[in-house]
């Protein structure tokens, strides 16, 4: 009896100990990171600079996390170029599948794994990383290296909080209009111009529809309505005070186009798991608004013979009363983990990737770097297999971020996604959908 009791005591002690160690582990890691958070970042930076200079001659290993690296030649090429230019630094890549990236990154940062630099997959998550003290203040480095912030065309502004810069954009993708030249030729219609309103787009889609062809492809993302609603840069998806009446025009258009058969049915696309790239490559879709990231994919599809038609790119259509060149997009920022022990090397990596040298590599691979000037866009367009007139089509005047970098944007996004499906499946009217979104966002934010 007594022995059993002792055994039981031992077991419960073991359990208690394991609980304690689990909790102890997490508190110690969080306290360690808070001390190296935004307040203590400068001292950490100088410390690590000192330690690095003493260890000169040795190769520094830099842990960098990104997603789907193997299927993304541009990132690898840029990293290779960085290593070639900085032989004293060895980049140790942590490649994570894109669907798991956010979860995995959070686990790594929260769990205190060694990670020096990380790509942020959704720009709007930058705020939450900043709030949690997981981003190093780059301002002193930017000043010291004399980085020309104007070269980012405003795409870096969203990553500044309280007047300090916590991330720099590597790439900026924005929406353009892809089109199938063969379908236009068959109907004897002129190709879409770089200055077209959404009304003109809808009319054109109507002329191109029929005989098994669709005038356009609007993918199942809520972005296909919301992006055009915020395109003028006057509103964001957080503006519930307006009752979201600014989204009505683009939603009406989307629903109308679906009813008229100008675009494929939302329910079909959704239940068929149809990816926009395959659907456009099939060749029965005349136009598709999509991000610039698709340029590289489309080129590959043409090269492999999956897409067998001539294609072109035009500037995204614009709402009535808004200048052409206003588009919607998102940047991919790079941030430094404040817990890094090699802050100096980390900064050199960020500076290279987000700077002119990195930009040139990305442009060569057909991606649009955040520092995109005339020459860079020319480089992008001059790549083999790029459609004619790409450089002109890529001209922008303003890129509104698709999701503002503020708190709770993920939750709002979720609400939009839910109600988008309701509207597009005809489960509710546009007005009812927008009213529901207003209520839910109000509950969330107010």
């Amino acid at each position: 009896m007594k022995i059993k009791r002792i055994a039981a005591l031992g077991m419960s002690g073991l359990m208690a100990a394991s609980v304690l160690t689990a909790c102890g582990g997490s508190t110690s890691s969080s306290s360690a990171t808070t001390s190296s958070g935004s307040t203590g970042s400068e001292s950490t930076a100088s410390e690590s600079t000192a330690s690095e200079s003493t260890a000169s001659g040795e190769q520094v290993s830099l842990k960098v996390s990104l997603w789907d690296a193997t299927s993304n030649p541009a990132d690898l090429a840029a990293i290779e170029a960085f290593e070639a230019a900085n032989p004293d630094i060895k980049v140790d890549l942590i490649d994570i599948p894109s669907t798991d990236y956010n979860t995995k990154l959070n686990t790594m940062l929260n769990g205190g794994s060694q990670l020096d630099v990380y790509f942020i997959k959704q720009a709007d998550m930058t705020k939450s990383f900043y709030d949690k003290g997981q981003l190093l203040d780059l301002t002193p480095y930017i000043e010291e290296s004399g980085v020309d912030m104007a070269a980012y065309n405003g795409t870096a502004d969203g990553f500044a909080f309280d007047g300090k810069q916590y991330g720099l954009p590597v790439r900026t993708d924005f929406y353009v209009l892809y089109y199938n030249k063969d379908l236009f030729d068959a109907k004897g219609l002129e190709y879409p111009s770089n200055d077209m309103t959404w009304t003109e787009f809808e009319e054109l889609a109507g002329k191109l529809s029929g005989d098994g062809n669709y005038g356009a492809l609007m993918h199942t993302w809520q972005a296909m309505a919301w992006n055009w609603a915020i395109q003028d840069g006057q509103h964001s998806i957080m503006d519930y005070e307006t009752g979201y009446d600014f989204a009505k025009t683009s939603y009406d258009m989307l629903v109308r186009m679906q009813e008229n058969g100008y675009i494929q049915d939302y329910g079909q696309l959704k239940s068929g798991n149809i990816h926009y790239s395959g659907a456009f490559a099939q060749g029965n879709v005349a136009m598709m608004p999509m991000g610039t990231w698709f340029i590289g994919t489309m080129k590959a599809k043409v090269d492999s013979g999956e897409a067998d038609f001539n294609w072109g790119v035009a500037t995204i259509p614009h709402p009535e009363g808004v200048e052409t060149g206003y588009t919607v997009g998102a940047s991919t920022p790079l941030g430094i983990n404040p817990a890094t022990k090699v802050a100096d090397a980390a900064w050199r990596f960020v500076e290279f990737m987000t700077g002119a040298e990195g930009a040139a590599v990305y442009a060569k691979e057909g991606y649009i770097p955040a520092r995109a000037d005339e020459t860079i866009l020319e480089t992008v367009a001059s790549n083999e297999g790029m459609p004619e007139g790409l450089a002109e089509a890529l001209q922008t005047k303003n890129i509104t971020p698709d999701r503002p970098i503020v708190d709770k944007v993920g939750d709002v996004d979720q609400i939009l996604a839910e109600q988008h499906s309701m509207i597009m499946l005809g489960e509710c009217t546009v007005d009812e959908g927008l009213a529901e979104i207003t209520n839910q966002v109000k509950d969330l934010l107010a």
Binding site: I3, K4, A7, L14, M15, S18, V19, A22, C23, S30, S31, T33, T34, N102, T103, N106, L109, N110, S128, D131, K132, G133, Q134, D265, Y266, G267, Q268, K270, S271, G272, N273, K408, G410, D411, D413, Q414, A417, E418, Q419, S421, M422, L425, E427, D443
Partner: protein, 306 residues
């Protein structure tokens, strides 16, 4: 017992202690795994449900605020309702299907092993692949299911929209869930059926009982322990279902198929609100635990009665 403790082994350890140690060493490997991967996280989750935490900044003790918050949230109540709806029909239909199949395949048929394997197959098939196929089958226009319904004479405007409609999305996922469950629980019923002594049926036949009477009076009651087991496992599984929903509808359209597990996922990985997440998990845990305890109580009564 007292005698045993006094019996000393050669090395001087009492037999009782030795037995205890041997016993412990047998369960230890399993227990360590359980403690590290289940018990500690569960306890941690319980603590978290009383905290406000985003995973990084220091935790803040908020007592029962998280619970108050979720019960005031429309989406949580909605998910709870959806979960009950989903679980009720999944459990009922899976049990009926499993029992029917077991009765059918308990007979002497040709290729009986082939049929048994075929029905068991969904349980071991990859849910990712399976849900892709089902999604395509559920397509509103041109999907296999609606085409078949049309051939059976269902008017075109009466065809269900399945995963693309608020009313039919839940029945669609319930169908897939039942299809997936039935094979495994059929095996359990099959095993139990074979344990029923044949003499009972012989006696019934002598007394002139019909097949139906035999089923109602002999087969069904004799399966009582299996009913309890199947019911409990199905209930627990249904309340925890996540993969199927995530892959087939992502909780949509709108929130039509958002179950509690999906709500928990969203709160954790979209809102990064671990406190609320844990509170919701605790509610889920309490529901399942209550059902299980009730289950055991009722089962005990029944077994005593038998």
């Amino acid at each position: 017992m007292a005698n045993a403790t006094k019996q000393e082994t050669k090395k001087g350890i009492s037999l009782n202690l030795r037995n205890t140690l041997v016993g412990l060493s047998f369960i230890l490997p399993n227990f360590i795994g359980f403690a590290v991967f289940t018990l500690v996280p569960v306890i941690f989750s319980f603590i978290l449900s009383l905290m406000k935490w985003d995973g990084f900044t220091p935790m803040e003790f908020v007592a029962f605020d998280n619970f108050v918050k979720i019960f005031g949230e429309k989406k949580f109540i909605e998910s709870l309702g959806h979960t009950v709806y989903f679980a009720f029909f999944t459990v009922l239909l899976s049990m009926a299907a499993a029992l029917a199949l077991a009765l059918l395949l308990n007979q002497k048929l040709k290729f009986v092993n082939f049929f048994r394997s075929a029905i068991f197959f969904p349980y071991v098939a990859s849910i990712v692949a399976v849900s892709c196929v089902w999604k395509a089958m559920f397509m509103e226009d041109g999907g296999v299911i609606n085409s078949a319904l049309q051939m059976l004479g269902v008017a075109e405007d009466m065809l269900p929209g399945w995963t693309a409609s608020v009313a039919w999305a839940m029945p669609a996922v319930i169908i897939v869930s039942v299809w997936r469950n039935m094979g495994y629980f059929m095996i359990i019923y099959l095993a139990a059926l074979q344990d029923i002594p044949n003499s009972l049926y012989e006696a019934a036949e002598m007394d002139g009982a019909s097949k139906w009477q035999q089923f109602v009076r002999i087969t069904f009651p004799m399966l009582t322990p299996s009913h309890f087991f199947v019911f409990m496992m199905l209930t627990i599984n249904s309340f925890k279902t996540f993969d199927l929903i995530f892959l087939m509808t992502e909780g949509g359209p709108g929130t039509a198929t958002q179950l509690l597990s999906m709500y928990v996922y969203n709160k954790a990985f979209i809102s990064w609100d671990y406190g609320v997440t844990s509170a919701a998990s605790m509610v889920l845990f309490l529901i399942v635990a209550t059902i299980t305890v009730l289950q055991f109580r009722v089962e005990k009564k029944f077994n005593d009665f038998m």
